[in-house]
């Protein structure tokens, strides 16, 4: 079970959060002006990296704030928790254990 440090509440168990998938997906400003393909990419295409994944979680059974989390999908190490709207921080992937 992950331990996620909520910027507002401190370190909490994963069970207090709900997962919101990849973060930094921007909704098209004028959806009607883009192609079907671009619209479907926005909805369905997601990164599936072996390494740092930028994702968003809601502290649902806590302060209910959405937060960004940079997590290594291999080691589950959490490199950073940062507010919505902040740019993606960059991390060098650590030596993989598995």
């Amino acid at each position: 079970m992950l331990q996620i440090t909520c910027p507002w509440c401190g370190p909490r168990n994963e069970t207090e959060f709900s997962f919101g998938g990849e973060s930094h997906i921007i909704r098209p400003v004028r959806p009607e002006s883009i192609s079907d393909r671009d619209w479907s990419d926005y909805q369905f295409l997601r990164e599936n990296p072996k390494g740092t994944h930028y994702e968003r979680w809601q502290h649902r059974f806590g302060c209910r704030q959405w937060i960004n989390v940079a997590r290594d999908t291999l080691s589950h190490e959490i490199y950073s928790v940062y507010p919505m709207g902040d740019p993606k921080p960059v991390f060098d992937r650590k030596e993989a254990l598995l």
């Binding site: 168990n13 709900s18 619209w39 809601q58 209910r64 589950h76 709207g85 254990l97």
Partner: protein
């Protein structure tokens, strides 16, 4: 019944309490042991070696080990609801009155019918299930196999005990209370940091308790005393670390109240411990030696034999043969010898020892045979002799007599030591195969995990030897009855991956997870395929290290506590009114209010009639209520609803619908504009939490620039809804400052005001009334603060007495809304339904602005005319029952197979129309209104007709009176 004497108990020694004698029953016979015994040590003290039967061949099996790795000594423990299958005799503390029985045998462990399987064992080779049961089909064999195979049986009664969960945090968690773990704890505790130590056994000390050295025991007791005295140290015994999860979360199962004692506390407790650093002091597990017929009762691990001797004062035999490939078993021989037990011989597969152990043995007069291996064993229910061969020739050692036989009544074997790396591996630590130790040892460490003691590096140099003798069976996995021959078959059939081998032979896949078999199986695979063991690799260790009972996983979440229940403020009043409560989401709500002798169906019919004929009252408190406030509230909601929100005037309500980004309808409900900047959004009761989260996600993640406050007020407001032609007359009798006339307060509008309190000293009560309807009748949804909910209900019941006001439940409401064709999202829609499918393309065409899901509605797929569309369905014979879930098929089709053209989503008998009505999703439904169809349900068809989804008061005049 006379208690048998403890004939194998030594007169002195061991850490048992000889003052406290305990009676227990095994397979119906009464025995005695001492406090401090395990079930296994007590059985062995009574010279009981035959404890069970193998799973596949039903061969007699005895105790192999003295710990949790035990593959054979699984028993059924306790009786009734406290019956526990697969209890390990080697870890089960003995208690007064313990009742245990063997598993896997019928009619008894001594005379077992299934043992015949052993004589036709060619029936059960590797891949047996995969190969044999393809033809004619598995079901033909299933009955026989299920009876013959499997471990234990499930208890049938409810477990009367309780189980609990507990969270804990510490700086250091030490898994293992042997010497290495206690020493680490002692060092770390000095700094004042929080230390927790968990030990699987009831006794602290691990393998130190098997030591014959009194200084070891003295040192152990001193350390334990000091640890007990430290406030920052928590010691948990009978507590096994079973799983290592992300970020140093370790789950630990603690046996709290043994079931024979009081039942005041939980029987087991699941700890979830988060530690800054985890120290693994899990020790090492001795491995068996592979040789023909190595599974007879009396053949045991050498470490177990010495543990029974020194820890429990039990002689596992009086004439013990030792079989080894390393030096550790020599100590077993020395301790046994010192206790006056005869050592038949030490049979060592190596040319010499790595220490002076053999000289010591010779000095004691113990015969040591080097380059020697067991060729076979004799004795069906207990070993009687071992046949010894030269390991290079495979021929019997004739120096011992013609057949090379050595008589013995116990064979103590040591095939080397495998560190217990399960938790290390679960923590994503990487292992390395150490040639010298012939074991997998920790190599690359995860952060904040360290390993101490024997878990680090096993114990002794080992030379493992996998023989090639045939055809006698040589066991690798005692618990799953996998032999060396099964590996041979798998290799012959070109299985080379260890993961495939494991699944094909099922080695290491039983409840012991191969604690005493994986290494030998890997060595055999490597040897047979000509690879290095390091290249063969090992399979992945997964939680749990030990089997965990379902009761422990469930904890308190059973019965009434399985899920939270929610009751409305009116609950007691509804109960008094005869409510039959069903669960709707987490809410307990009245399905209907059956009166004396009345069926639920009759109650629903009566209630639905009463609403149309006079007035009904409904507890709508669970209705989702979300306030959206702020200067950008209208803009925010305009982006979520398919409707135009900006045009809504204060005090007005509008029926709205929300889509997901795929264009699928996710919720509907009425939203109200309270004033220029504040809105009250109503959601379906089951969706209240989901829609709140939905709004928060869009607001926080996508549109943080919009100045909006979102908060749920669902449980802040109790809601009593009155509906029917006399609804206003009832409400008028309550003293409020709201003008209720149809002109001032028409359908789809909203008023806030005050109810004057009947207690003149008390303050007036705020009220929010929405005039809306889900029944098709004049309706008022009256909201007051929750604490006034019961009073509101009572006042309305009193006011409605003259009109025979009738409480109606959720199911009755479903009849009423179906008569009107009012959609129920989630029932009349599915995961494909878009607004046009339910006849709601109008608001979208009139709305210029973008909203969630709009773009998807433009996709070609969503424009097709043959989509499943929302329609009404009438049976040709109005008294013909319709069932939700029935399929719609063409009118020419009368049996399966036929194309399903949709299905019935709601079906009720309408008391106002005196016939069955239904709603459904039907392919090209709207264009087919008037068409005859057949309804297919459970193999039968009945004729019906597609109609518009509106059966009652087509003009809607009853809403606007």
């Amino acid at each position: 019944m006379n208690a048998a004497k403890q004939s194998s108990r030594l007169h002195k020694g061991g850490h048992i309490n000889r003052q406290k004698q305990l009676n227990f029953t095994f397979n119906g016979s009464l025995y005695q042991g001492y406090e401090g015994d395990t079930l296994a040590s007590a059985l062995l003290a009574n010279d009981v070696h035959l404890i069970g039967r193998g799973m596949k061949f039903h061969r007699p099996r005895g105790i192999l080990s003295a710990g949790p790795e035990e593959p054979n000594g699984l028993v059924k423990l306790g009786q009734g609801g406290r019956e526990e299958p697969n209890a390990r005799a080697t870890t089960q503390p003995l208690y007064e009155g313990l009742v245990a029985e063997s598993q896997n045998c019928w009619p008894s462990v001594k005379w077992d019918v299934g043992a015949l399987l052993d004589f036709c064992s060619s029936l059960w080779p590797a891949g047996f299930y995969n190969k044999t049961f393809i033809w004619p089909n598995w079901h033909w064999y299933e009955h026989f196999v299920r009876r013959a195979a499997g471990l234990g049986t499930l208890p049938t009664e409810d477990d009367p005990d309780t189980y609990s969960h507990r969270y804990a945090h510490c700086d250091y968690l030490i898994c293992g209370g042997g010497w290495a773990g206690l020493e680490a704890a002692h060092n770390m505790a000095k700094s004042g940091q929080r230390v927790m130590v968990v030990e699987q056994s009831a006794d602290w000390g691990g393998s130190l308790l098997a030591s014959s050295d009194q200084d070891d025991i003295t040192q152990l007791q001193k350390t334990l005393r000091e640890l007990h005295g430290m406030a920052n140290v928590t010691l948990l015994n009978s507590a096994t670390a079973v799983g290592f999860f992300d970020h140093n979360m370790v789950s630990v199962v603690e046996k709290v109240c043994p079931h024979h004692l009081d039942h005041s506390g939980p029987r087991e407790r699941l700890w979830k411990i988060r530690a800054t650093e985890v120290v693994l002091a899990t020790g090492a597990i001795e491995q068996p030696v592979v040789f023909p017929n190595n599974d007879r009762p009396g053949i045991m691990l050498a470490s177990a034999v010495v543990q029974y001797l020194n820890h429990y004062g039990v002689a596992c035999g009086r004439n013990v043969a030792i079989v080894t490939n390393n030096d550790s078993a020599y100590q077993t021989a020395f301790d046994l010898h010192a206790a006056g037990i005869k050592i038949a011989a030490i049979i060592d597969s190596r040319p010499q020892c790595t220490s002076d152990s053999s000289q010591q043995a010779e000095a004691l007069g113990i015969r040591v045979l080097f380059n020697a291996i067991p060729l076979n064993t004799v004795g069906r229910k207990r070993i009687r002799a071992v046949q010894v061969a030269d390991c290079s020739t495979g021929k019997a050692l004739t120096q011992l007599g013609k057949k090379g036989l050595i008589a013995c009544d116990c064979l103590a074997m040591s095939g080397g030591w495998q560190p217990a790396v399960h938790l290390f591996s679960q923590a994503r630590g990487k292992l390395r195969y150490d040639e010298k130790l012939a074991a997998f040892v920790p190599d690359q460490y995860p952060d904040n995990v360290r390993v101490v003691g024997r878990a680090l590096a096993g114990r002794y140099e080992v030379k493992r030897f996998i023989p090639t003798f045939k055809p006698a069976k040589q066991w690798l996995d005692f618990q799953h009855d996998v032999t060396l021959q099964d590996i041979d078959i798998a290799v012959q059939e070109d299985y080379v991956s260890v993961e495939h081998l494991k699944r094909y032979t099922t080695t290491g896949m039983s409840v012991d997870q191969g604690k005493t078999s994986n290494i030998n199986a890997l060595t055999a695979l490597a040897e047979r395929t000509g690879k290095a063991i390091a290249d063969v690799g090992t399979t992945t260790f997964r939680p749990f290290y030990m089997p965990v009972t379902l009761g422990t996983i469930a904890g308190r979440r059973r019965g009434a506590l399985y899920a939270p229940t929610r009751q409305t403020p009116m609950h007691q009043l509804l109960k008094q009114a005869g409510a039959e409560f069903w669960d709707y989401g987490h809410w307990q709500r009245p399905a209907a209010y059956p009166q004396a002798q009345e069926t639920l169906h009759a109650a629903m019919q009566r209630e639905a009639l009463a609403v149309r004929n006079s007035v009904g009252i409904y507890d709508g408190s669970p209705l989702g209520k979300i306030e959206v406030r702020g200067p950008d509230a209208a803009e925010f909601l305009n982006r979520l609803y398919i409707n135009n929100v900006h045009s809504l005037k204060p005090g007005k309500a509008r029926y709205g619908m929300m889509l997901d980004e795929k264009g699928i309808v996710i919720d509907d409900g009425i939203f109200v504009r309270l004033n220029e900047s504040d809105f009250l959004v109503h959601t379906t009761s089951g969706n209240a939490e989901h829609i709140l989260a939905w709004m928060e996600e869009w607001q926080q993640c996508e549109w943080p620039d919009l100045n909006v406050l979102i908060r749920s007020v669902t449980t802040q407001w109790a809601n009593a809804t009155i509906s029917g032609p006399n609804a206003r007359k009832v409400l008028e009798q309550l003293d409020s400052d709201i003008d209720l006339s149809n002109e001032d307060f028409p359908h789809m509008s909203f008023r806030e005001g005050l109810f004057s309190n009947s207690n003149s000293d008390a303050e007036d009560v705020p009220v929010r009334i929405m005039r809306a309807s889900f029944t098709g009748e004049m309706g008022y949804e009256i909201n007051v603060p929750s604490s006034y909910g019961a009073a509101l209900w009572q006042n309305l019941m009193t006011a409605g007495r003259a009109f025979e006001i009738t409480p109606y439940g959720v199911e009755s409401l479903m009849i009423l809304r179906s008569e009107k064709g009012y959609l129920h999202v989630g029932a009349d829609t599915d995961g494909r339904t878009i607004p046009d499918d339910i006849g709601w393309s109008g608001p979208i065409k009139n709305k210029q602005a973008d909203f969630i899901g709009k773009r998807s509605l433009l996709l070609a797929e969503q424009q097709r005319q043959d989509r499943f569309q929302y329609v009404g369905i009438e049976p040709v014979n109005g008294q013909q029952e319709l069932t939700m879930g029935s399929h719609i098929i063409n009118s020419e089709m009368h049996s399966a197979p036929a194309e399903s053209q949709g299905y019935v989503t709601s079906a009720f008998y309408s008391p106002n129309l005196n016939r069955w009505i239904a709603l459904g999703l039907v392919k090209s439904g709207r264009a087919r209104i008037g068409e005859g169809i057949n309804i297919f349900h459970r193999g039968k068809t009945s004729p019906a007709k597609i109609v518009a989804p509106l059966f009652f008061d087509q003009e809607g005049g009853r809403l606007h009176v």
